[in-house]
């Protein structure tokens, strides 16, 4: 183990700001991509299902 205490771990030898902003921004980017992807997949399916119902509806009918 490299670290004597947690506070030493978080300070990263005085370079905490640089190290944690690198890892923090990366984590935020990766999580955001995964969540946005899941959301857009759900919205896209809902839209496709609606289009399908619309296509299947008889001419002139409201759906």
């Amino acid at each position: 183990m490299e670290w004597a205490s947690w506070s030493e771990f978080w300070s990263m030898g005085g370079r905490g700001f640089f190290v944690w902003s690198a890892f923090g921004v990366t984590a935020a980017c990766v999580l955001a991509e995964a969540l946005l992807l899941r959301r857009s997949a759900r919205l896209s399916r809902r839209r496709l299902a609606r289009l399908q119902r619309w296509d299947a509806a008889p001419e002139g009918a409201d759906s």
């Binding site: 030898g13 370079r15 190290v19 902003s21 690198a22 921004v25 990366t26 980017c29 991509e33």
Partner: protein
């Protein structure tokens, strides 16, 4: 083995659906292992102190940024040559993730550069060509959204990517061809690694995690694109009814 079988959107959709959760879990586990090695096993660097730990994401992200661009160019070439629908879908699915990882490489490079070089950014060949890579990704994404007709849009994006691919060897060899502030490669095929074994283990584990992550998100995005493009076909109609 019949390759056409795997090129059919139906087979691809089902197969990719099975791969995505596995790849996502693999990415999570490998990232946890890689971060553990990076923060708790790897020692402090004798020159760079603790800030060197940024390389555990910087190097994998930079590698993936280039690799994904090469993959895009590959699918673009296949798409143009064989007019394969799935190839263009793969291309579109790759681009946002490639752009994101290239951005991550630039960002982590900047926050590493500030304590090490004393500057966030220099216009040296390595940094500039990587910025060009990010702009190539963004340009391709913009081109796709600007052209309404799917076929023309696909082809224009593939052409742009194939032209832009010359930038990848420029990034790779920039540290050899020019005198850059960015250091030369520590890991390569022509020489023994110039890096401690534990540190290299951390970098390689994080690289595998990045691979698994890219596979998961790219296939998930490709599945959505397949459904959208094939929405009039019987098999997609069936899936939509099942899920409604």
């Amino acid at each position: 083995m019949n390759l056409y079988h795997y090129a059919s959107p139906t087979t691809f959709y089902r197969l990719a659906g099975r791969v995505v959760p596995w790849a996502a879990w693999t990415a999570g586990i490998l990232a946890a292992c890689g971060l553990y090695i990076g923060f708790f096993v790897a020692p402090t660097d004798f020159q760079q102190g603790e800030a060197y730990r940024i390389i555990f994401i910087h190097v994998p992200a930079a590698w993936m940024g280039m690799l994904i661009y090469l993959a895009m160019a590959f699918w673009g070439a296949i798409g143009l040559a064989f007019n394969a629908r799935l190839a263009f879908i793969m291309m579109r699915a790759l681009a946002p993730t490639g752009a994101l990882l290239t951005f991550v490489a630039l960002w982590t490079g900047a926050v590493w550069g500030k304590p090490m070089w004393g500057t966030w950014w220099v216009w040296d060949a390595r940094l500039t060509s990587t910025l060009v890579l990010l702009f190539l990704y963004l340009g391709t994404l913009a081109l796709w959204s600007a052209i309404e007709d799917t076929r023309r849009s696909d082809r224009a994006g593939a052409l742009l990517t194939l032209i832009g691919v010359v930038n990848v060897p420029i990034i790779l060899f920039s540290v050899v061809w020019w005198n850059t502030l960015h250091q030369g490669s520590s890991i390569g095929v022509t020489h023994a690694p110039r890096m401690a074994t534990v540190m290299m283990a951390g970098v390689l584990t994080m690289t595998l995690a990045a691979w698994a992550y890219a596979i998961a998100v790219v296939l998930a995005r490709a599945r959505r694109l397949v459904l959208e493009r094939e929405r009039k076909t019987e098999w997609v109609q069936k899936i939509l009814v099942q899920e409604a």
